[in-house]
Each structure stands twice: as C-alpha cells, then as structure tokens.
C-alpha cells in the first residue's frame, strides 16, 4: 500500500500546493531555455521558406499554440471526468485552472493564424476548416468557464461544467471532421505524418523545441494557477492560515 501513498496525497490540497510551488520554477526554467533556443533556431538559423519567405516563421508560435489548445482541452476533459466520477476536488481545481490557459492558447493560435493568413492567403480570415474548428473550440472553452462560474456554489458549478466538458470531448472529433469535410483551405498536416516529417530538419528541430518550451510554459502557468485556485477555494482552511502566518 505504501507505494500508493503518493497518489492518495494528491488529494490533499496543502500537499498539492507545496508540490506545485516546488515544480513551477523548474517548468518555468525549462520553458525559458527551450523557448530561447527554439526562437534562436527558428528566427536566425532556419532558412527562409522558398515560397513564403520569412512569413512562415510564425509557425514557431502558431503550431505550439494550436497543439496546446487541443491538449489543454483533453486535460480539462480528463480532469473533469476524474472529478465527476471519483469526486476529487483537486481534479476540478486542475480543470478550472487549465481552461482559461487553453482558451488563451486557442486565441493565440487564431490570431497568429490570421496574421499569417494575410500575406499568404491575402486575407485575415477565411472560413477554413481548421480556423473554424479552433473558433468553435474557443466557444467550448467559454461555455465551460461560464457554466462553472454561473453557480453560487462552486462545487455544483464544477460538477455541471465537468459534464459539459465530457460532452464536448466526445463532440470535438465530430466537429473537427465536419468542418474538414465542409471546407478545406488550410494545408494538410506536415509535422507528424506517418512516414516521418515533410519539413526540413533545420526548420523542424526549432519547431519541436518550441513545442516543448510552450508545453513547459503551460505547465508552469498551470501549476501557479492551481496554487491560486487552491488559495481561493480553500480560503478559511487551517493550512492557509498557517501559510499566511509563515510568510
């Protein structure tokens, strides 16, 4: 049983608060190193694209944001499901902390996408499949956040929002494929195709480093936000009074 105590202790807010505080600087440091290296590689070392010139370099922001927008929603849904079925308060805390971050990355992916679209497609916005599904994803995030906050009792709000997140994650692939078949202008996926990658290594390696850096940055922000959420939700609890006295 002793092997599982670390798991049980994850249900204890003070323990998680401490852990989050412990790990956040490491994630932040890793993020700073990776983003610095990725930006250097992407903006200086990588050659200009033979068709798009320098405008392609926005992918070093765009692709990591798009990756995080999707994976953050999966995180929200998985955490919501754990919170709903196992009644883990901390899982709801994680979901509530991750949702605004995911929405921000979705927004960033939309903005960088449309900035890249202006020189490349000649227009800021096209009703392309991936742009549209990102936009709908943004609304799914908004719905999740709005429903969670609409209840006076935060716990009811968490449980209601978690049902919505689970409905959303079932619907997300359907939404994605429906808009893909509806209209496609966005280029196909080039980073991860079955037989390796279509991008030249000098462009791909900085991109992968940037993805790692953005993910660590997301991790660092998530841990900090979990701390803030815990302080807000557990206010009045004895361990917080202790914490305040210590500092």
């Amino acid at each position: 049983m002793a092997a599982f105590t670390w798991f049980h202790r994850l249900a204890s807010p003070p323990h998680v608060y401490r852990l989050a505080g412990l790990f956040a600087p490491w994630f932040a440091g890793l993020a700073a190193a990776c983003i610095a290296a990725g930006l250097y590689g992407g903006l200086w070392l990588a050659p200009p694209d033979y068709q798009q010139g320098d405008s392609f370099r926005i992918i070093y922001i765009h692709v990591p944001s798009a990756w995080l927008s999707m994976s953050a929603y999966s995180l929200v849904a998985v955490a919501s499901a754990m919170g709903y079925w196992w009644r883990m308060k901390l899982a709801h805390t994680v979901a509530a902390a991750a949702a605004p971050l995911g929405a921000s990355f979705t927004f960033l992916a939309l903005v960088t996408g449309s900035l890249w679209g202006k020189p490349t497609w000649g227009t800021f916005w096209v009703w392309d499949a991936r742009l549209t599904s990102q936009l709908i994803l943004l609304f799914l995030y908004f719905g999740f956040m709005a429903l969670g906050r609409a209840f006076e009792d935060r716990r009811t709000g968490d449980r209601a929002a978690s049902v919505l997140a689970m409905v959303g994650i079932v619907n997300l692939p359907i939404i994605h494929y429906s808009v893909v078949w509806w209209n496609t202008l966005h280029q196909g996926s080039t980073v991860f195709v079955g037989r390796g990658s279509d991008i030249a290594p000098s462009m791909l390696i900085p991109l992968l480093i940037m993805i790692a850096g953005f993910t660590s940055y997301f991790g660092a922000c998530l841990l900090k936000r979990i701390q803030v959420e815990l302080l807000e939700r557990e206010r009045g609890a004895a361990w917080i009074t202790e914490l305040v006295k210590q500092t």
Binding site: G143, A146, E152, R159, V170
Partner: protein
C-alpha cells in the same frame, strides 16, 4: 418502461392542454426565415442558393427557443426530484421527456420547413432530402439542448447561457444537414450527409441520455 411511457403520455397531454404555446416556435421559425430575404436581398437566384442554410439556421434557433423551459417547471415544483428518485432509470425518463418535447416542437418544424423552403425558392425536387435531413437532425438538436437545459435548470438566468453551451455542439448537425439539403437542390445525391446525420443521431440517442441524467443530478444537488 411503464413509467417512461406514463411520463411521455403526461408530457404530451400537458402540451395538448396548452395548445396555444405550441405555435410559438413555429411563428419564430417563420419570422426568422422571413428576416433573411428582408436583410439580404429579394433576388430569387441568391435566395435559392442560401435557402438550405437559412432553413437550417432558423430550425436550429427555433428548436433552441423552447429548451430553456424543458425541465424548469418540474424543477420548481419538485417533481424533477421525484423523477430522479423513482425506480425507473433517470436516463430513460429523460429520453421520454426529450421525445415528448421533440414531438410537440421538432416535428411541427419538420412539417413546416418545406413551406419555408418554397418561400425562398428552393426547388421541389429537393424536398425529400430537406425533410429527411430535418427528421434526422432535429432530434439531435433536442437531445443536445436537453443536456444544456438539464445543466442550467437550477440557474435563474439560464436564457443566455444555454445557447452558448449548446450552439457550438450543434455545429456538425448544421453543417451536414445544410450540406445534404444544398446537394439535393443541385440534383446531386444527398445520401452522404444524411448517413452522417443518422450516425450522429444514433450516437446522441445512446450517449445524450446519460449526460442529461448527469446534468439533472448535478442540478438537484445544489
């Protein structure tokens, strides 16, 4: 099963006693459809091209209109708690409620839609596809709307929240429904979109009752 049928019977009878309210979504459907030619332009060519989308968007909005009150009165007088406590599975009871709601609001929309389509100059040859797409699509909208209604029933101001929760989820239904109708207008085979709508209906019928029941239980906890 007996309880489910009893609930269906009760809901249909209640709807029949208040026949006047049944016309409201239909009037809304008619008005929204009329707004499009007024707002866009009365040119027949243009209206014919936008007709599938307009009919579908109007049907989507009209079906959302009544959703807010789906569980409201039962929540307020406590019968929703009795339903949740009864021996019959709440999932089945929720399905019965949605079925009754669809029969009194969705089905009239389906029957009225060809008329709206004719107003917009949609060719009569495409009518079977239009009716089929709405027959398959509006139950999905009812089920999705019921999930939102169950989650927001204990909130005082759910009117604005409900569309924000439900509309993003309804996007695939709109896309496949309107696409099938548009294909049929061009004389092409609409089967692809209809099959996908059918698949989504099967998925919604099997999964949505669990989400609705979960939403009701969450709302009753507060």
């Amino acid at each position: 099963m007996k309880e489910t049928l009893a609930l269906l019977n009760r809901d249909l009878r209640l709807a029949y006693r208040r026949r006047g309210e049944l016309a409201t979504p239909l009037m809304f459907f008619l008005l929204v459809t009329v707004l499009f030619p007024l707002g866009l332009s009365p040119q027949p060519d243009m209206l014919r091209t936008v007709a599938p989308g307009v009919v579908w968007v109007a049907a989507l909005l009209a079906s959302l209109l009544g959703q807010d009150s789906l569980f409201r009165s039962d929540y307020e007088d406590g019968s929703l708690e009795q339903l949740a406590l009864s021996a019959a599975p709440l999932e089945l009871l929720a399905l019965a409620r949605v079925a009754a709601h669809w029969l009194v609001t969705g089905l009239p929309l389906v029957i009225m839609a060809p008329l709206m389509a004719l107003l917009l100059g949609y060719p009569a040859s495409g009518m079977p596809a239009l009716i089929a797409s709405l027959l398959l699509g509006t139950p999905i909208l009812s089920l999705l709307g019921a999930v939102g209604a169950a989650l927001t029933v204990s909130l005082r101001q759910s009117g604005m929240l409900l569309p924000i929760l439900v509309l993003p989820l309804a996007v695939p239904v709109l896309i496949f429904g309107a696409r099938a109708v548009a294909l049929a207008a061009d004389g092409a085979d609409p089967a692809g979109g209809l099959y996908l709508l059918g698949a989504m209906l099967a998925l919604a019928l099997t999964l949505a009752p669990f989400a609705i029941a979960g939403g009701i239980r969450v709302s009753l906890e507060s």
